[in-house]
Each structure stands twice: as C-alpha cells, then as structure tokens.
Symmetry: C2
Subunit: 264 residues, 2 copies
DNA sequence: CGTGCACTTGATAGAACTCAAGACAGGTGG
DNA sequence: CCACCTGTCTTGAGTTCTATCAAGTGCACG
C-alpha cells in the first residue's frame, strides 16, 4: 500500500551515514539526531560529472552527499587535473562558518549521486549554535578532520612513492568508509576509475595501473570491479606509514623539542 | 637618553605588516588598526628551528610572526619531510575559530624570528566579533586565502613539473610578500635554504638546485644570497600557470558547466 | 555487432633521485 | 691570523622512477 520513496537507496539507511559519523565525533542529543535524519527527506539524484560547486561560488547553503562519490578538484590550463580530496557518502560539503565564504575550488560528482539540502544543519550551527552543542562540536571536529585529510594528501603526493601513495590512499578511504559503516572485513566499495585515483595521487594512469598490479602481486590490495580488498592491512599500514587521524585527542606530552635547535 | 627597544627590528615597522595585509582584505576602523599595532608591543626573539606549535597541541592562543620565516610541516617516520606552507612576516598562526581546536601539524621557525602573542586579536574575533567587524571579516578572508595557498601547493606538487613548481612557488611568495610591502621591483627576500624549498616542493635538494640553475640560465629567476629576483615575471607566470588568488571577489558568471556531463 | 570506455601491456624517453665528492662561505677556537 | 669546522651549494655519474606513446583487450551498452 505505502510506496517506497521514489528514489531507491543505493545503500540502506542513507540518513544513518552522517548520524554514525557525527555520533562518533561528539555526543548528540535526540533532537540533533532527528535533525540529521531529516536531511535526507528530499533527496536529489544527479549524474556523474555534475558540478556541485564552482570555484568562486558563494557557499550559501550546505549540501549532504547521501550516496555516490564526489571530489574537490582543479584543472591547470593545459588540462592536467588535481583532485584535492574525495567526498564520500555521509559527507557534508559547502559548510563554512565564514559568512560570505566562497568556494576555493570546484566540487564535482564522480559517480551518479544522491544529494540533499543541508541548510537546516548549517543554519543550526551558524545561527543557533547554542541550541545544538553536539552538532556544532561534531561538525567542527569533522571540518578539522577534513583538513587533516588534506594534509595527508599533501604528504602523499609530495613525499611518498607511487607504491606508498596508493597504499596510503586506500587505507584512508577504507578508514573513512568504515566509520560510516560502508566498509568492513577489509572490503570497501571503490567506484573510482583509475584515472580519478591517478589524478588524486599525482600519477599517470599507466603508472597507477602498474602500481596497482604490483600491490596485488605483493598480496597487499586487490582493486577491481568497483571495490577494493585489503589483503594485508598490517603490512599495508607499515608501507604507507599510515596513522589514522586523531584530531579529537590532544597529545598528552609535549616535550617542546626543537627540531633543529640552533644557537643563533 | 631614551633607549631603543631591546630588539632591533629586522624590518622597519614590523607592526605595519599585518596592518597592510588586513587593510587590503577589509576596511578597518581606527581602533581595529590600533589593536593590530598593539600586537607588536611585546616581541619575543626565537632562533631558527624553534617549534612554535606541535602536532596535537591545543590552539589556545594565536601568535603573530613579526619577523623571520616559519612553516607548517610534517615528517614521515623515515625522516622525509613535507612542508605544507610558509608563514611569512605579518602572518598570524594558530588562530582558529573552533574552540578546543588542535594543531594538525607542527609549526617551526625556519630562520631566527620575532613573534608576539596575538591573543588580543583572537579574543576580539572569537568573543567580541560584533565589536570588531572589520577585523573579523579580514581575518576570515585571510584564513580563506591561506587555504587557497594550500590548494595551490597541492596542485604544484601533484601536477606540475619541477620547473613549473619552482616558478609557481616563487611567484606566490613574491605576491604574498608584496602585499605586506616586503617585496617590490621584482626583488624579494628569500631566507630559505634549498633544502627547505625542496621539502616544500616535493623535490630532492640536488634536483631543485639544478632546476634553479635552469631557471636562471633561461633568464627567469635569480635566487641567491637570501633573495630572489624575478627577471621575467610575465614569462614566469605563463610557465607556472600562476593566477593570484581572488578569494574576495565572487565569480560574476557561473554558467554551471558540467565538466564531464554523462547521461547515466 | 559496432562503439566507447576502462583497463592493460610493451617499448621508450624523460624526469627525478641517489651517491659521492668538491667548492665555498661563515663562524670558532687556538 | 690561520686552521678547522659545519652547513650550504654545486657538479658529475649512474640508477630508479615515472611519463609518454602506441596498441591491444575486455566489457557494457545501445
């Protein structure tokens, strides 16, 4: 009798993804969780390649990615592309505390995706922070984590070999997906073409392809068919020098080392 | 009779640097400018290699870099270093709107430096934003610009050749220094060792050295003795695909192009 | 059954790294 | 004043890594 929503969920309980993620970042009250669930009430389906935000656009309202993958990226004038980071299901994008904020780069869907308006959330945080302490805290921590991912990305492309880069990225994506319950038992969805991964890691497609094969031959990761399987997560972490970000925990001891102490 | 301050300024009017920078970002009232000037009243001198903030430290108070250069960086466990960005004279670091924010990476001085406490500024922005609209606006814009520089850095190390990277970084630094009046007439101070530049650009020292020589031989940049001279800024900009960031200006036309429109 | 896209493979060139050694400067201490 | 450091920059040679070019495979889709 009752109809299912017109848009069949690609994943069960799309609304739960962001709930899971933010619940882990801070304690949320019941009404805060309800607010998050309400975000998925009016989903919109868009194809792959949809520009969600253009460089220079006003960030007037936040959006929630319910399903599918997206990224933030920029092109050089000769066509070379750099992907800065990936936007995963359950991620918020375009949320900025700064009024009048402007997008610093383009955000584009990489697969077909389901998005929804999250201005209720941004309004709650920006204008009624006192009424939603949990959401505010969780969102800020989430933003902080995003920034940490950006720095990870920089270390990867700046100082790691192709082999290490791929291992590190896979681990990071697995980690992020596991948080929202989309990855488990060393298996994760990975709906990216090799070109996208290459553009994120600063590699050519051909070289990425060979690196992936090397990782598989070494019994570390198997990437194919829209998914990836971690065959040896421990070894992988060693190779990638991977450490899960802990922006929530303060460092207990700060011995104030001077790295290059120079008497001057 | 009257003594000069114990710490002789390396640059004249150190306090003016941040005034110049923020004045360009937003209109500041007289009391706001006075507040900025007051920040340089209690300068502290530190040697090169001083850790200003450690990864995981609480960002409880902002600091102002009055003179000297610093950077944000991270080490891999085997000693490889990635420099994320440079902190120049007149820059604020450790300023974060998020209460309880934690530093995501280490900040270290690269030269001997003069710093001062800027908690007056952070207090004004965080707790009395309404009373300091200009400062608030300018600081937010400044933070936005910093983020844009981070993305530039990512494009450099991810998708540009060594030659382009160096050209781009030099231009960016010149641009930033010119804003605060420390660079002009195509000459800029550059108190960095080649190792530091290499660690920022994801290159080996040797290769950076050769790239610098190539740029000089090509009549583009001359780097030596703590300074750099842009011999052909126009050609340099073409090579580096350099565009000065315009986070303040909104894009006038957003035609909403779909870059890879795919019917799916 | 063609067409397009993603992936794969081989061959080759070029970019960047490593190792090693030397040049040069500034600072230190005898 | 000089010998001696140390850190930085430079140069050469050889190697490794990564990109490019080109062609071919496989699969999904209309």
């Amino acid at each position: 009798m009752s109809r299912l929503p017109a848009i069949a969920p690609e994943y069960p309980d799309q609304a739960e993804l962001i709930v899971r993620r933010l619940t882990k970042a801070a304690d949320l009250a019941h009404d805060e969780i309800e607010l998050l669930r309400s975000l998925s009430e009016a989903p919109e389906r868009v194809p792959a390649g949809t520009e969600l935000i253009g460089e220079g656009d006003r960030l007037h309202e936040a959006k929630l990615l319910l399903a599918g993958w997206a990224c933030r990226q920029r092109y050089l004038s000769d066509g070379r592309r750099q992907i800065f980071d990936f936007i995963l299901p359950g991620d918020i994008y375009g949320l900025c505390l700064r009024p009048q904020a402007v997008a610093l780069c383009t955000a584009v869907t990489l697969t077909r995706a389901t998005i929804s308006n999250a201005s209720v959330l941004s309004d709650a945080i920006v204008n009624h922070a006192d009424g939603y302490p949990g959401l505010t805290s969780a969102s800020l921590m989430s933003a902080s984590t995003d920034e940490a991912y950006l720095l990870n990305q920089m270390v990867r492309i700046g100082r790691q070999t192709a082999y290490e880069r791929v291992a590190h990225l896979i681990l990071e994506l697995y980690h992020r997906l596991a948080i929202v319950g989309l990855a488990a038992d060393n298996y994760m969805p990975l709906p990216l073409t090799q070109e996208m991964i290459a553009d994120a890691l600063g590699l050519s497609i051909v070289h990425l392809n060979r690196t992936l094969q090397q990782l598989r031959r070494d019994g570390l990761v198997e990437v194919r068919g829209g998914g990836a399987r971690l065959l040896d997560p421990g070894k992988l972490r060693t190779i990638a020098d991977f450490r899960a970000p802990h922006v929530t925990t303060r460092r207990l001891e700060n011995n104030g080392v001077r790295l290059h102490a120079v008497a001057t």
